[in-house]
Symmetry: C2
Subunit: 314 residues, 2 copies
């Protein structure tokens, strides 16, 4: 989902710059995924490769003759990695290691942006998560994401890549069908009612989440890529900006934006398994470092819902 959005953004803006604001360049854009996306962007400079991230030969061919910038988004999602531990380790850890090893063979160390997650945090947390708060993931997905961050930092320190890892907030409103991410409900209870469909909320109304719109997440990842190495310095992981929104606040905004009958399509049906994962994630952050580096946050949940409605009607 984010991959297609990044591709569209890069094609629209003419590629990537070495510094934010510098001229953007794009020679070729390779999109690697398990299966080709249904509504994929077609462009003379966009090349698609479908396959397994663990297939090192295919990956190497996809990146030949050289790759300058890699957005690494491939991941077994939270509920998926919890249901199938081995698959999560294979894709989220071994798959990433294969990709990093490939990057290491490049003549010039490529910039690599890794999408980490708030799932890096869990357990007993301070009320507000700081840049210095220790990651203590309470899901296999979160564990694998933190391992990825550590690899990004160490490969960078060794000079094998020029890596950057951004812990993205939960993306709301995700377009398309529900996926296996435990965080999906917040998108479902906004997107489905807007389509005239019923939706189930598996967590209590007071449940708060740390969220960002898909557009903001794309902006975060592109900014992470374009920031010069010197701006990042020795530590290559940031908590990306987001906003804190409760289920109740999201439904109030939905009513303001789309009316009472839309909100009434949502019903509450507690699901302890989902609630346990979601409630282990922190909902409030102080993202001082990201703010200083020029990362931005959404204006509010009303604006996020309106932007989703505009995108859905296009």
């Amino acid at each position: 989902m984010l991959g297609q959005k990044i591709a569209r953004a890069l094609l629209a803006r003419g590629g990537l710059a070495q510094d934010p604001g510098a001229p953007a360049k794009l020679a070729e854009l390779v999109l690697f995924d398990q299966v080709l996306a249904a509504n994929r962007v077609e462009h003379p400079r966009a090349k698609y490769v479908a396959g397994d991230i663990l297939d090192r030969e295919l990956l190497a061919r996809a990146c030949a003759p050289q790759v300058d910038a890699v957005f690494h988004l491939a991941s077994v999602v939270s509920a998926g990695a919890e249901a199938d531990f081995d698959l999560g380790m294979r894709v989220n850890v071994d798959g990433m290691r294969g990709l990093l090893e490939l990057c290491r063979t490049q003549a010039t160390p490529p910039r690599v942006v890794f999408t980490s997650s708030v799932a890096a945090f869990g357990g007993e947390l301070p009320d507000v998560v700081l840049d210095t708060t220790a990651p203590t993931p309470q899901s296999s997905y979160g564990t694998q994401k933190v391992i990825g961050e550590l690899l990004i930092n160490d490969y960078t320190r060794k000079g094998y890549i020029d890596g950057r890892a951004a812990r993205l907030p939960t993306i709301v409103v995700r377009p398309g069908k529900p996926n296996r991410a435990a965080s999906g409900f917040m998108s479902n209870i906004l997107r489905e009612p807007l389509k005239g469909e019923p939706a189930v909320c598996p967590v209590p109304a007071e449940t708060r989440m740390w969220i960002a719109s898909p557009e903001r997440a794309v902006g975060t990842l592109i900014h992470a890529m374009e920031l010069p190495a010197a701006a990042w310095g020795w530590h290559r992981t940031i908590n990306a900006p987001g906003i804190t929104v409760s289920v109740a606040e999201a439904l109030s905004a939905l009513e303001r934006v789309a009316g009472r009958e839309t909100v009434e399509r949502v019903r509450f049906e507690p699901d302890p398994a989902t609630a346990r994962i979601v409630l282990s994630w922190p909902a409030r952050f102080a993202t001082d470092r990201a703010d200083r580096l020029g990362f931005e946050r959404d204006a509010g949940i009303d604006e996020i819902i309106r932007a989703h409605m505009r995108a859905a009607s296009e």
Copy 2:
């Protein structure tokens, strides 16, 4: 080194208890290492297996028919993992994963104690490292140790093992020959002069380290094993207690304990590569959680040197 000391301690105390202070039991003690230790303890209940930790079949045979408690000490050391990145990843990450997978196949999840390290920390750190300080390793060794901690926590959360990870201070005085650990100099400048040999100190006299004696480290690891799961709770990593000692303080203690001519065998010869690794490690900790859990620290550097002299003369 620690493996042999743990073996001797376990054989002397009759094994391990389910709770500190409860009766100890020992059916069989299997010592797995690359090569058999030279001065190894021989005992009817001690069985030795020499081989590669990546040899999963050999490891499985060594642990058959079942294993209840595993001390995981095997590791490519700091300077070694820095010099050969691939070897460090293979042994410290893949080797550990193989061991954890083997533990996962046991009928009852075994207790697993993992020796992590202060090398988990690095970069810009607070003056005193707290239990909540985020690990930001600045060496491949430290990175691999933190990955190990994350796996210990997640395998435990999943119910595959009952894991515990202790970040040990630098062990001083290490017996035997110098190894490739960047931290080895602090032991060298005490042990070698006591043997009448010259020693080189590669870092400035004001360099401080967070240290523990070998006996204390063994005590820490056995306590980590014997604490019940409930005492550990949801978070299975601790900063183990140590003491902060500068090179100057260590040499003063050496003079107090062994005289001026002993200290004069040490000469300073700066080695920037070693200094860079050592200076990236924190030298002061507040180990509140470990203290509450009953972990203990050494009385002081004089006592550590005297204990080493007693052990060396045995």
